[in-house]
């Protein structure tokens, strides 16, 4: 097992040790108190009956104070201990939660970049969140084995009063129950996986169809779409039912073991007298009952292991090779060697054009270290990009991605992403240069307005301009703008480009621009054309 997740969980267990130990102690106390409570009650009643039958004198000689007080004490202890156990185990789980997610996030961010970015798709993200939720709940269940151990200990202790056979039978019942439950848990793994798969299939089907509402309407396909989704829905529901049925076996096993343990203890301790036999029977029943939390966690074991294995597999990657940090100048030159061949001096404005799918965006992402560079493809200040640490590369570029890519949060959250120490003046300045200041000022909470999931409350053009303002703020020597004016009307586009030109003139930043539109490319000094048929060519552009 690769150690990352395992060691992360181990570290959290160590950190939460005190709470977990407390939870385990309380769980053990609950189980032991339950066994003692019922066992003692059984003994008390039966012994009291015998004493009562012996007449008033025998009855008065019977020490009833101690057992009856103990019974009440045990009832209170059990309640208090259960409260303590719940609180401690949830405390541990919540504490772990606050550390596991940041740790996972760091691990993903540090993974080789292609691997890291494979998490950034909707389905992978949803799956991952689910898995993390699953492994966090395990912290609540860590006390379950201790409850079973304490039940076993106190149960065997009490039934021993009725003889070794009774104690052995009780222990055997509990042991067999756990073995059977373990086997059953293994059989539950397949239905669990089936549920996961069916869930994914249903989500995919629905997402694809919901995106195509207009087509569904026009071609009268709503019923057809509903049928397709229904098929997936049925597959999911069937898988879940199969899983629930398998769970039902746990109930049967538990009740069976409980009944047999009580009866066996009673019969096997008959020679020790009615009072002890009563004690043994009830204690044996509660011993098996004390395994209930462990059974529950066994029933979950399959999905827990699945989740752990999946996360471990995702994180199971050698860390990227250590690369020597190379000092870069404040304004590095870019040399593109393949497929283009050209030399871009600091402060230059360059447009990258060519048919869609030719690899313009790929080139931009390679510069940012978001794709592995091939050796000999690009040089930065004369150093091959493939040998540079991503950190060094990213320091050189401020990026506007093609799909804007905003955080769910406020306008400010999004801007501060690129420069956390920027003050409001800098923020407004960047917004102004991106022609978004008036719009943000009109928002009810200005910079602190919530823009929704991925900026859903903004229009497409506004999202793009917010992403542009974010790139401006970063103060890197090169701006990488991927389609900055797509979705803008001509007047706004003019505005954006004019302000961009004067901003660039003031900051002296270089610009590498990808666009299909003539207006932005016209401001560039140089036009780089990526073209499959004619091969890459570089040609002077029209300076604005």
């Amino acid at each position: 097992m690769t150690p990352f997740l395992a060691s992360l969980l181990a570290a959290e267990r160590a950190r939460q040790r005190r709470r977990l130990v407390r939870a385990a102690l309380f769980a053990a106390l609950v189980a032991a108190a339950s066994v003692l409570l019922l066992g003692l009650s059984g003994w008390f009643i039966t012994a009291a009956a015998a004493a009562g039958a012996g007449g008033p004198i025998v009855a008065r000689a019977f020490n009833y104070m101690l057992p009856s007080a103990t019974i009440r004490l045990l009832a209170i202890v059990r309640t208090g201990a259960r409260y303590g156990e719940r609180l401690a185990s949830h405390d541990a789980a919540l504490g772990a939660l606050a550390r596991i997610r940041p740790a996972l996030f760091r691990a993903i961010a540090a993974a080789p970049v292609t691997r890291a970015l494979s998490f950034a798709t909707g389905e992978a993200t949803a799956r991952m969140v689910q898995d993390v939720d699953t492994i966090e709940t395990r912290f609540v269940r860590l006390s379950a084995p201790w409850s079973a151990v304490a039940a076993l200990g106190s149960g065997v202790g009490l039934t021993l009063l009725g003889g070794g056979a009774a104690a052995l039978a009780t222990a055997l019942c509990l042991g067999l129950l756990l073995v059977a439950a373990g086997l059953l848990a293994r059989r539950l793994e397949a239905p669990g996986r089936a549920v996961q798969r069916a869930t994914g299939a249903l989500k995919e089907e629905f997402a694809a169809l919901a995106e195509a509402m207009a087509e569904l309407r026009c071609f009268g396909l709503e019923g057809w779409a509903a049928d397709r989704i229904e098929t997936r829905s049925r597959a999911l529901a069937d898988a879940q039912r199969a899983q629930a049925r398998a769970h039902g076996w746990f109930e049967l096993l538990h009740a069976l073991a409980l009944g047999i343990a009580a009866t066996a203890a009673l019969l096997l301790s008959a020679q020790a007298g009615a009072a002890i036999a009563a004690l043994a029977a009830l204690a044996a029943a509660m011993t098996v009952d004390g395994a209930a939390p462990l059974l529950r966690s066994l029933a979950q074991r399959g999905s827990l292991r699945e989740a752990e294995a999946r996360l471990e597999a995702l994180l199971d990657t050698a860390l990227p090779a250590e690369r020597r940090a190379t000092p870069m100048s404040d304004a590095p030159t870019i040399e593109l060697l393949h497929p283009l061949s050209c030399h871009l001096a600091p402060g230059m404005r360059v447009a990258l054009v060519g048919p869609s799918g030719i690899g313009k965006t790929t080139l931009v992402e390679t510069l940012l270290g978001l794709r592995e560079a091939r050796p000999g493809q690009i040089r930065l200040d004369g150093v091959d990009v493939a040998t540079l640490p991503a950190e060094t590369l990213r320091r050189c570029f401020a990026w506007l991605p093609q799909d804007a890519m905003l955080l769910s949060g406020t306008v400010r959250d999004n801007l501060l992403l690129s420069r956390p120490d920027a003050d409001d003046t800098a923020l407004w300045h960047a917004l102004h240069d991106a022609v978004l200041d008036e719009r943000v000022r009109a928002l009810p909470q200005g910079l602190d307005s919530w823009i929704g999931e991925n900026g859903a409350r903004l229009s497409g053009g506004e999202r793009r301009r917010l992403a542009l303002a974010r790139a401006y703020l970063a103060e890197a020597p090169w701006l990488l703008l991927d389609e900055p004016t797509e979705g803008l009307d001509r007047a706004t586009e003019d505005h954006v480009i004019n302000r961009m030109t004067s901003r660039l003139a003031a900051t002296g930043q270089g610009l590498l621009l990808v666009s299909h539109r003539p207006r932005p490319t016209a401001t560039c000094e140089r036009l780089l054309r990526l073209d499959l048929a004619r091969g890459p060519t570089a040609q002077p552009g029209v300076a604005a």
């Binding site: 949830h90 879940q240 955080l407 956390p420």
Partner: protein
């Protein structure tokens, strides 16, 4: 103060609305009743178990042989209990199976017929259709049977207890009142708190998911460490708040436990003292060992059903949280459209008169006061920045966007009369629907009864020829659901071919050339020009070159 009172009142109303919705959503064909019946049988078997144990203890002095029948009864009852519990779980799962299928059917129907806007993104719709429908599982499978059983099973146990010892039954009944109060507390204030907690946890998961989604940009701006810390801070804060809430919630469930344990202890002590004849007060009964033991063994069963109910409370909360979102989606379903009347003309025009579109919950109108006359058979290009309402205008015609002001005439009919022009329109957009299957399957979606000649004609007109030549099986080549191997241009052409297959007087094109390079765009524009012939066409586009084929170009969003 009044504000707060109002808030409480609305909260209460909302809670009631949630419950009503949930009740209607899960109403099922008696599965709950069967599941409940099995739980009641479980309680009856518990009586057998207690009776068997008591009988065996009483028979003990007469030897093991005399104990055996009672021991057998106890063991058998134990096994039968397990059987009933398992069957009840199965029955519950069966009920949940049915309820989920029915509910999901309704939600999918509502999602597919939703009036656009207000009801959320396709992402939230997806989680409603899948995860939130699943959230009612535990409610149907566990909570409902547990609630019904909790009302009856204690009475059965109480009756059996009273048969052996009326006073012990009285003790149990007396502890019931504080127990129910504690249960109400656990289910009332604490439940509300933990529901909020439930939402907060979901939001935290959402934050984690969001930062994973935006990972490229987080990496590009070297913000990974800051975002990791922010995640930690948010989780820490939540942990602190949660543990406060849990303290309360566990306290109320602790109260449940306490009364359960206390009543067992009281019964034990009472029975003991009764047997000893040392009770400090007179009682009208003298217990035998058998009666006393029976009562003691049965006492925990009295609270069992109610504890099961308390344990299922979480299921109910999950379901109620889901119910809120699900009912909102169902409420946003467009009313069932009356059968669309036939058009009065073969090729009508479209006239927009002072049309305003405002999506529910939005401050700004997506489109305001637009007037436009599209003569029959003409092409109109709608241009303007994103968010200027081009797509909304097309969606309006399909009943996917609300008409908030003005009116729309289709020939000499009103759009309101028709509801939608969908039956008379063909559509091609920038992200066409591609299904797993052959290219032919994808085309036939538009008209399943199209003849091979008609398909061939549409393929030719849409310029799909080169694509089919590239593929080994031509039009019967398989494509996967993601449209793997198809370029952006090829997907648009499939959509166009589909649109051409439908002999509709209206053609609606939404950004049919977006994100294509100049050469592919020019090719596609030629195809589109052909496709528009003989139809009244509306094209929403950013492309000046595509707009150039139109008879009229309308610029939206610049009047303001």
């Amino acid at each position: 103060m009044t504000g707060r009172m109002n808030a409480i009142a609305t909260n209460k109303e909302m809670a009631q609305a949630r419950r009503r919705y949930l009740k209607a959503a899960v109403a099922d064909g008696g599965r709950t009743r069967q599941s409940t019946a099995l739980l009641l049988l479980d309680s009856i078997a518990a009586i057998g178990f207690a009776g068997g144990l008591a009988g065996a203890v009483v028979a003990l002095p007469s030897g093991v042989a005399a104990m055996l029948p009672y021991a057998a009864l106890a063991a058998l009852s134990g096994g039968v209990r397990g059987l009933f519990a398992m069957l009840s779980a199965r029955m519950g799962a069966e009920g949940a199976h049915q309820a989920k299928l029915r509910l999901r059917h309704r939600i999918v129907d509502a999602a597919l017929h939703r009036a656009v806007g207000g009801t959320g993104t396709s992402g939230t719709l997806m989680s409603a259709v899948v995860d939130e429908v699943d959230a009612i599982d535990g409610h149907v499978a566990r909570f409902l049977p547990a609630r019904q059983a909790a009302a009856l099973a204690p009475l059965i146990v109480l009756a059996a207890t009273a048969f052996a010892s009326p006073v012990a039954a009285g003790i149990l009944a007396a502890t019931l009142l504080p127990f129910i109060l504690a249960l109400a507390l656990a289910g009332g204030a604490a439940a509300d708190e933990s529901r909020r907690q439930f939402i907060a946890l979901a939001r935290l998961s959402g934050l984690f998911a969001d930062r994973l989604r935006a990972l490229p940009i987080v990496l590009a701006f070297r913000a990974e460490e800051r975002e990791a810390q922010a995640l930690g801070t948010a989780a820490d804060e939540l942990a602190r708040r949660t543990i406060r809430v849990l303290r309360m919630a566990f306290l109320s469930s602790g109260a449940l436990e306490f009364f359960a344990a206390l009543s067992v202890a009281l019964v034990a002590v009472y029975a003991g003292f009764n047997l000893l004849g040392l009770l400090p007060f007179p009682v009208p009964e003298r217990l035998s060992l058998g009666q006393a033991f029976f009562v003691l063994a049965l006492a925990p069963e009295f609270y069992g059903p109610m504890r099961r109910l308390a344990a299922a409370y979480h299921d109910r909360q999950a379901a109620e949280t889901a119910a809120e979102r699900l009912s909102a989606i169902e409420a946003a379903r467009a009313p069932a459209a009356p059968p669309t009347p036939a058009l009065s003309e073969r090729l009508p025009g479209i006239r927009f008169e002072h049309v305003t579109i405002r999506y529910p919950g939005e401050d700004r109108a997506a489109l305001s006061d637009v007037s436009l006359d599209v003569a029959p058979g003409k092409i109109v290009a709608l241009i303007g920045p994103s968010g200027s309402g081009k797509s909304s205008l097309l969606h309006l015609l399909l009943g996917l966007a609300p008409l908030s002001g003005g009116r729309v005439r289709i020939g000499d009919m009103d759009l309101g009369e028709l509801g939608s022009i969908a039956p008379f329109a063909a559509w091609a957009g920038q992200a066409p629907l591609i299904i797993a299957g052959t290219i032919r399957d994808n085309l036939l979606l538009a008209r399943p009864d199209a003849s091979p000649q008609e398909i061939a004609e549409a393929v030719r007109a849409a310029g799909l020829g080169p694509l089919l030549l590239k593929r080994r099986c031509g039009i019967d080549s398989p494509i996967d659901a993601r449209g793997g191997g198809l370029s952006g241009g090829e997907r648009r052409r499939i959509a166009l071919a589909r649109a051409l297959l439908k002999p509709a007087p209206f053609l609606l094109l939404d950004e049919p050339t977006a994100h294509l390079d100049a050469a592919s765009e020019a090719d596609l524009i030629a195809t589109i020009t052909h496709a528009c012939a003989g139809r009244t066409t509306l094209i929403a586009t950013h492309s000046a070159r595509l707009a150039a084929i139109a008879d009229i170009v309308v610029r939206l969003g610049e009047a303001e």
